[in-house]
Symmetry: C2
Subunit: 155 residues, 2 copies
């Protein structure tokens, strides 16, 4: 019968068997949307979302990033990064400081309270990751991270 | 020496070795941002971006999705889907139709011109994917797609 009279592939369950359902760029986009939603839900108990958690994590890691480095690394607009830092700074979790090792750089550092919150939140983040990948082996989990690093940091 | 006097981990190259640089949700977000940019650049020669390509792909696949199904599947706001369809319809690549198999459903179908453009664009999309994963084996490529499907279509 002609295509127009075949039953429709109803809903997401049908669409995922389409050509697009096997497309890497699409699968990454949809996996990203869903995992972000899961992470946001898990981080809510700490008053964080995936984005503010990311900023806090980099501040707590003694990387002392500048705002520009944060924007590039997190692929956000500088204005978005400023808003995220403002919020964390109001909550006394991070501070903007002149870096003693490079007086031209205005860098982000975590307060003691920020480090403590990061430690608790990182346990939630790790639990999210293990839950999402419960069906894969530890070896595959590690290989997935390696391949995602290739895609996230090419060249 | 105290942490504040250590040299900064400068730029993305330093930050990627932070705790966050190994976080699955973050790696997915950054891999998604970069692969979308690569796909958008490759699809530009067809007058498409990743999102409009996705809509065209589902229309060309005879899935006959409704606008609501497209929004849910692509994780976009319904208003974004309407704008994408409007643009493709203006270019006579897709049509909104009443589905003969279900007269209550207003579904999206590709025109012959839309199908031809999709075939050409899907070759570009496939080349992007193979280029992005040039460093992994075909077996790993397939396993990556399986794991991304687990994350993109849980339950």
């Amino acid at each position: 019968m002609p295509a127009s009279e075949k039953p429709r592939l109803a809903g997401a369950d049908g669409l995922r068997h389409s050509v697009l359902g096997g497309d890497l760029v699409f699968l990454l986009a949809r996996a990203n949307a869903l995992t972000l939603a899961t992470a946001n839900a898990a981080l809510a108990e700490h008053g964080l979302k995936a984005r503010s958690y990311s900023v806090l994590a980099l501040a707590a890691d003694d990387a002392r990033p500048t705002q520009r480095e944060l924007a590039e690394f997190l692929r956000l607009d500088p204005s978005q990064v400023v808003a995220l830092i403002d919020d964390l700074e109001r909550r006394r979790l991070v501070e903007r400081r002149t870096d003693p090792a490079d007086r031209r750089a205005n860098v982000l550092v975590a307060t003691d309270e920020g480090r403590a919150l990061f430690r608790r939140a990182s346990e939630s983040a790790r639990a999210v990751e293990l839950g999402l990948l419960a069906a894969v082996t530890p070896e595959e989990h590690e290989r997935l991270a390696q391949i995602l690093r290739l895609l996230a940091f090419p060249g």
